[in-house]
Subunit: 198 residues, 2 copies
């Protein structure tokens, strides 16, 4: 890759990161190009899809999440605590940019983008955490990791949507940790709630 191209790429990722933080991942790409001092064509050549840019911005973060899952799977004796700890990190991750939780929910079903592929690695690591707990009888076995991710993503989306409207209301804020606790409780094996289903 040519030196100038590399420079532009880095600059774009840098600008995108701060733009996402301010305006969410739906920020105008033209605005990002402008702030980075490059033409819109340059942005598109390097990042043909919005998700490619998002993936580039998140790369490091995903690496950490993946590593963390591997470490927890290895060292944490308690499978329940391990998944709890990791899902907490996951939820916090998805909350860093407005709109990210939805993009991730999209990406976990689609490995054709860079974001989808990075998610895959992270999910494989997370899956191991879930499956260890399942094989130990800690978690119910009819649920897969996509299900868990979907629920977590839903939690974050709810928090975002609520945050946008904090002005007008008697409605209390949404607590992601509480909702995560509900989900985790629902995932655990046990006598309660075997029936239900529709």
């Amino acid at each position: 890759m040519r030196a100038d191209a590399l420079r532009n790429r880095e600059r774009l990722v840098e600008v995108a990161q701060s733009a996402f933080a301010t305006n969410g991942i739906e920020t105008s790409l033209e605005e990002i190009a402008r702030q980075a001092g490059v033409g819109i064509g340059t942005l598109y050549r390097r990042f043909p899809r919005r998700e490619d840019l998002i993936a580039a911005v998140l790369a490091e973060r995903y690496l950490k999440l993946t590593e963390c899952a591997l470490t927890l799977a290895e060292h944490r004796k308690d499978a329940d605590a391990a998944l709890t700890e990791w899902l907490t990190l996951l939820v916090e991750h998805m909350a860093i940019y407005r709109g990210l939780s939805l993009a991730v929910k999209e990406a976990i079903h689609d490995q054709s983008t860079a974001l989808g592929r990075t998610c895959k690695e992270m999910m494989d690591a997370g899956t191991a955490l879930l499956e260890r707990g399942q094989s130990l009888g800690v978690f119910r076995t009819d649920v897969n990791f996509y299900d868990v991710m979907s629920l977590c993503s839903g939690i974050v989306t709810a928090v975002e949507r609520r945050a946008e409207k904090l002005a007008d209301s008697d409605i209390p804020p949404v607590d992601p940790y509480l909702l995560l606790d509900v989900v985790l409780k629902g995932l655990r094996s046990g006598v309660l709630g075997g029936g239900a289903g529709g």
Copy 2:
């Protein structure tokens, strides 16, 4: 309201309904106006916001959901079964148009649109179901109805996103009833899962 205006209004709602069913609630409004044989200005005069049109399309359906919750609260002895039954209907409702689950998640925090207001009524009825269960010790009391709605909306969004990509994969489809079962299990009181939190 003038007779011609009423006619146009009805025609718009009718067309919108089928357009939403085909393309989701993000369908182009200009397309809807065109199909209804009215100008875009007419659509906007009657439905200043997209959500106003959505609310008009859903009006009957919401009425039914509200009534159903009231009936369940009155007649169903079993608070757990009542909420289970109703949330199942709610989830099925949110799945009728692609994108609706997100719009609802937005609307529950914002009574400034027609959709938000209709949701409010439905939610008041649903809240009664939850609170009855809570006062009977069936459900945990640290969760409110917004939380429950948010989780249900997240379930539906996951199903939608998955459905869009059914082509490419070894990934199994998402089962909304299974996820709802997880959430309901998490909502129940009991020894399991009291800790966790972050």
